[in-house]
C-alpha cells in the first residue's frame, strides 16, 4: 500500500530584507529555504504508520511542486525514510495559485493511487492553508483539516482522527479511506535524519515530472489561469506598537497601567 505526503519547500525571512523591483515578492537573496514545518509532522506520521506495520509493506511517497532547489527538501524527506520522491515542475507553473497547485497534486495522487494522503495544515511562508483541501476537492476524496491525532490500520476502510477546533476543543471523527488529511503540528515528534540516511538519500533518484506526466498543460497552470494573483507585497506602516522606555520598574509600572486601561479598571 502507499501513503502519499505532499510537501512544500518554504521560504523564511530574516528581520531585514528587500522587496523585489516588481513589488510582488521578497528579493530572492533574502529567502532562506527549508522544508515546511508542518510537512515534517506529516512525513513523520506516514513513517510512524509504516514502521508500526512492517508486514503491510507500505511505500511512503513525498511529492512537491517546485523548481530544482526543491530537491534539497525532498532529499531531506528521503533521508528520514521516505521511499520515493517526486518533484513536479515546468516553468509555466511559476505564478500558480494554491488551487492550481492542489490540482497538480491531485493529478499525482490519481496516478499513484495511494491509500492515504497527507499534507500540512498550512505552509509557514504563505499561510493559505488551502493546498491540501484544494487537492481533496479535485480528487473528490473525503478530507479532514487540522488533524491532531490519527488512528489508522493500513488497509482499513476507515480511520479515526481528532481535529483541533477553537477553544481547545477536539472533535473525534471517523473518516472513510482513502482520505486527504491535513496534519497539525505536535501530532508526533519528528525525527532527525541519520547520517546514514542522509548519505543514502544522496544516491536515491528524485523523479522529475513535467506537466505532461500528470495530464496537464501550460494552460492549466501559471499566473494566467490563477483565480487569485499577488498585486503587491509591502511592509505596512508601523502600527500601534510602542517601545516602553525607562527603568525596569518604570516599564513594569507602565505595563500595569496599560493592563488596567484595557480592563477598564
Amino acid at each position: 500500500m502507499k501513503i502519499l505526503v505532499a510537501v512544500k519547500q518554504v521560504a523564511a525571512l530574516d528581520e531585514d530584507f528587500e522587496i523585489r523591483a516588481d513589488e510582488k515578492d521578497v528579493d530572492e537573496d533574502f529567502l532562506l529555504y527549508d522544508l515546511n514545518e508542518w510537512d515534517d509532522f506529516s512525513l513523520e506520521e506516514a513513517m510512524r504508520i509504516k514502521e508500526e506495520s512492517p508486514d503491510a509493506e507500505i511505500e511512503v511517497i513525498v511529492v512537491s511542486v517546485g523548481p530544482d532547489r526543491v530537491d534539497e527538501s525532498l532529499r531531506k524527506c528521503l533521508a528520514k525514510g521516505a521511499d520515493r520522491a517526486i518533484r513536479v515542475w515546468d516553468d509555466a507553473v511559476e505564478g500558480s495559485d494554491t488551487v492550481a497547485i492542489g490540482k497538480m497534486l491531485a493529478a499525482v495522487v490519481k496516478k499513484e493511487a495511494p491509500d492515504m494522503v497527507f499534507a500540512g495544515v498550512q505552509s509557514s511562508d504563505h499561510s493559505n492553508a488551502s493546498t491540501g483541501i484544494s487537492m481533496a476537492a479535485y480528487l473528490g476524496m473525503p478530507h479532514a483539516a487540522v488533524v491532531a491525532d490519527l488512528k489508522y490500520n493500513p488497509g482499513a476502510n476507515t480511520a479515526t482522527i481528532r481535529r483541533e477546533l477553537e477553544g481547545g476543543i477536539l472533535q473525534e471523527v471517523e473518516i472513510a479511506c482513502p482520505a486527504v488529511l491535513t496534519i497539525q503540528l505536535g501530532i508526533n515528534k519528528p525525527r532527525y535524519a541519520s547520517l546514514r540516511g542522509i548519505k543514502q538519500a544522496a544516491a536515491k533518484p528524485i523523479e522529475a515530472w513535467g506537466l505532461g506526466d500528470i495530464g496537464m498543460s501550460a494552460a492549466d497552470v501559471g499566473e494566467g489561469s490563477a483565480m487569485s494573483r499577488v498585486r503587491r507585497m509591502y511592509v505596512p506602516e508601523k502600527g500601534r506598537a510602542q517601545m516602553i522606555e525607562g527603568t525596569i520598574a518604570q516599564q513594569a509600572a507602565r505595563i500595569i497601567e496599560i493592563i488596567k486601561e484595557f480592563k477598564g479598571a
Binding site: E28, F30, Y192, L195
Partner: protein, 474 residues
C-alpha cells in the same frame, strides 16, 4: 582527504568542499596568505545571498565580517547587517568620520558593542539625536567616561539608560539619584557600583520616610518603593527591624534576603510566603528555625529549605518524607544529601526525584547502574551526565533513542573516546557540533566530520582546525 597538517592544507580542503560554510570556517586560518584569501573569497562572495547570510550569522568570525564589509562597501543592506552583527570590527573610516554614515547606520554603530571608546565619546559630545544618545547610554561598551559626557548633556532625558548601564560610576549614580524621580532613585539604589556613603544613606532614609526629614517623598507608595531597595543594604539593626515590620511584604522579603539582618526569629512566622521562602534559603538558620520552616504549609518554603546547603541532618531526614515531590527533589539535589537518603530516593515513585539522584555528584556507581534501568528520560539523562556512571552504562546510553539522553553523555567530562566515537554519527547535528570541541577526541576523529551534511558542523570543524593551527604558530 586526509587530516590537514597546516593552514594551507585546511584551505585546500575547504576549496574541495566548495561550500560557503567550510570556507567561512577556514577564513581565519587563511590570513597572512593573499592567495588563500582570494581562493576562499571566490566561494564566499560569489552570491550576494551567501554574503548576506554570513553578514548576520552570529558565528561569523570578525576577519570574515571585515572582508565582507570591504567586498560590499556600497551595499547598504550588507553594511546594516554587518553593523548589527556584534562580531563585526569597526572600520577605521567609520571611527574617524562617523558622519559619512547615514542616520540608520549611525544608530547601529551607537549600539555596537565593539564601537571604540573614542567614537562613542565623539558621538556623545556632538550628536543631537536623543535616540542615538540613548543607544550610546545603553551600550555595554560605553564606559564611565562616555557616560559622564552623556550625563553632562542630558542627565534627565538619559537617566533611565545610564542608570541601567553597568559602567555607571557611584558619583554619577548619586547625582542621578538627586535629580531623578522615584524610579531613577530606586534603580540607583539597585546598582552594583553604588558605594553608599553615610551621608547618602541618611538622605535615602529621609526620602523613604524611614527617618523624619524635609526631603521625604510625599507619596507613601513612592516611599515604599525606596524602602524595598533600602532594605537590601547593611543598615543599622534598628532600621532593619523597623523595615522587617513593614506592612509591605516586598519590603519584608528584601529584609529577609538581607544577610545583615540577623533577627530571623522576628520574621519566621511572617504571613507572606515570599518572606518565609527568603528565610528558608538563609545560611544562618538555627535548628529550631529550620524545624519550624520544615512544616510550613507553603511548598516552596520547604523546597528552599530542602535545597539549603546549611540544613541540619534531622531536618533533611524529615523533608525527605515530604509529600511534595519538589521538596524531596530539593533534598536529593542538596550537596549534603547522604548516600543512604539517595538510595531511598533512587526508588522514589516520582521520576522527578529519581532524576535528581541521577544528577547528584554524591551518587555512586552502584546507584547509577540501578538508575540506568529506569525508563524515564530525565532520569537517564542524569545518569548519562554523571561522572560516576560506569563506562559500560555510558556507552549504552550513547545509543539511546532520546537526544537528551545522548547529549548527557556528550557533555559528561568522564566520557572517554571509545564512548564518544560512535556519536560522531549522531543524527542530531548539534551533538556532532559539540563533539568538534570535545577534548577526548583526536584530530582525525574530528576531521571525519569535515564533509558533514550540516553546514554548522562543517563550519565548526574548519574553524576548530583553523584556530588550532593559528594557536600553534603563535
Amino acid at each position: 582527504m586526509g587530516t590537514p597538517n597546516g593552514r594551507d592544507a585546511l584551505v585546500a580542503a575547504a576549496l574541495v568542499n566548495a561550500d560557503v560554510y567550510s570556507a567561512a570556517g577556514a577564513f581565519g586560518a587563511a590570513q597572512l596568505s593573499s592567495v588563500n584569501i582570494e581562493a576562499l573569497s571566490t566561494i564566499l562572495f560569489a552570491k550576494r545571498r551567501d554574503a548576506l547570510r554570513l553578514a548576520r550569522w552570529e558565528h561569523s568570525p570578525a576577519i570574515l565580517l571585515q572582508a565582507i564589509g570591504d567586498h560590499a562597501s556600497s551595499d547598504h543592506m550588507m553594511q546594516a547587517r554587518l553593523m548589527r552583527n556584534q562580531n563585526s570590527p569597526m572600520a577605521d573610516e567609520i571611527v574617524e568620520q562617523p558622519e559619512v554614515l547615514d542616520r540608520s547606520l549611525l544608530g547601529l554603530v551607537a549600539q555596537h558593542t565593539q564601537a571604540p571608546k573614542a567614537l562613542l565619546i565623539k558621538l556623545a559630545i556632538e550628536d543631537q539625536d536623543v535616540m542615538l544618545l540613548k543607544a550610546i547610554a545603553r551600550n555595554p561598551a560605553s564606559d564611565a567616561d562616555v557616560l559622564s559626557m552623556l550625563v553632562k548633556r542630558a542627565p534627565i532625558q538619559l537617566a533611565s539608560e545610564i542608570v541601567a548601564n553597568p559602567a555607571a560610576s557611584s558619583e554619577m549614580l548619586e547625582m542621578l539619584y538627586e535629580q531623578g524621580d522615584v524610579y531613577i532613585k530606586s534603580a540607583v539604589l539597585g546598582h552594583k557600583n553604588l558605594v553608599a556613603s553615610p551621608g547618602f544613606m541618611a538622605q535615602v532614609q529621609v526620602d523613604s520616610g524611614l527617618i523624619t526629614g524635609k526631603t521625604a517623598l510625599k507619596s507613601k507608595q513612592d516611599q515604599l518603593f525606596l524602602r524595598r531597595q533600602l532594605a537590601k543594604f547593611d543598615l543599622p539593626t534598628m532600621l532593619l527591624k523597623t523595615l522587617a515590620q513593614s506592612e509591605d511584604s516586598a519590603v519584608r522579603t528584601a529584609v529577609a534576603n538581607n544577610p545583615a539582618f540577623v533577627d530571623v526569629k522576628l520574621m519566621i512566622s511572617d504571613a507572606a510566603p515570599t518572606v518565609r521562602r527568603a528565610l528558608a534559603a538563609r545560611a544562618d538558620l538555627s535548628i529550631n528555625q529550620m524545624q519550624s520552616l520544615s512544616v510550613d504549609k507553603d511548598v516552596w518554603v520547604r523546597v528552599w529549605l530542602a535545597r539549603n546547603a546549611s540544613i541540619d541532618r534531622n531536618t533533611m531526614l524529615y523533608l525527605a518524607q515530604d509529600e511534595a515531590d519538589e521538596v524531596r527533589r530539593g533534598v536529593a539535589r542538596n550537596r549534603r544529601c547522604p548516600l543512604s537518603l539517595l538510595e531511598k530516593f533512587a526508588v522514589d515513585d516520582s521520576a522527578w526525584v529519581r532524576s535528581a539522584v541521577a544528577y547528584q555528584a554524591n551518587s555512586n556507581a552502584d546507584l547509577l547502574v540501578q538508575l540506568a534501568s529506569d525508563q524515564d528520560v530525565d532520569v537517564l539523562s542524569g545518569v548519562a551526565a554523571n561522572s560516576h556512571t560506569p563506562k559500560k552504562i555510558m556507552r549504552k546510553l550513547a545509543g539511546h533513542a532520546d537526544a537528551d539522553v545522548r547529549r548527557g553523555v556528550i557533555l559528561n567530562k568522564a566520557a572517554d573516546r571509545e564512548t564518544l566515537l560512535p556519536m560522531l554519527q549522531d543524527a542530531y547535528y548539534l551533538h556532532r557540533m559539540l563533539l568538534v570541541w570535545n577534548q577526548q577526541l583526536t584530530v582525525d576523529d574530528k576531521w571525519s566530520l569535515h564533509d558533514d551534511p550540516d553546514e554548522n558542523v562543517r563550519f565548526a570543524v574548519f574553524k576548530w582546525f583553523g584556530d588550532m593551527f593559528l594557536k600553534a604558530e603563535h
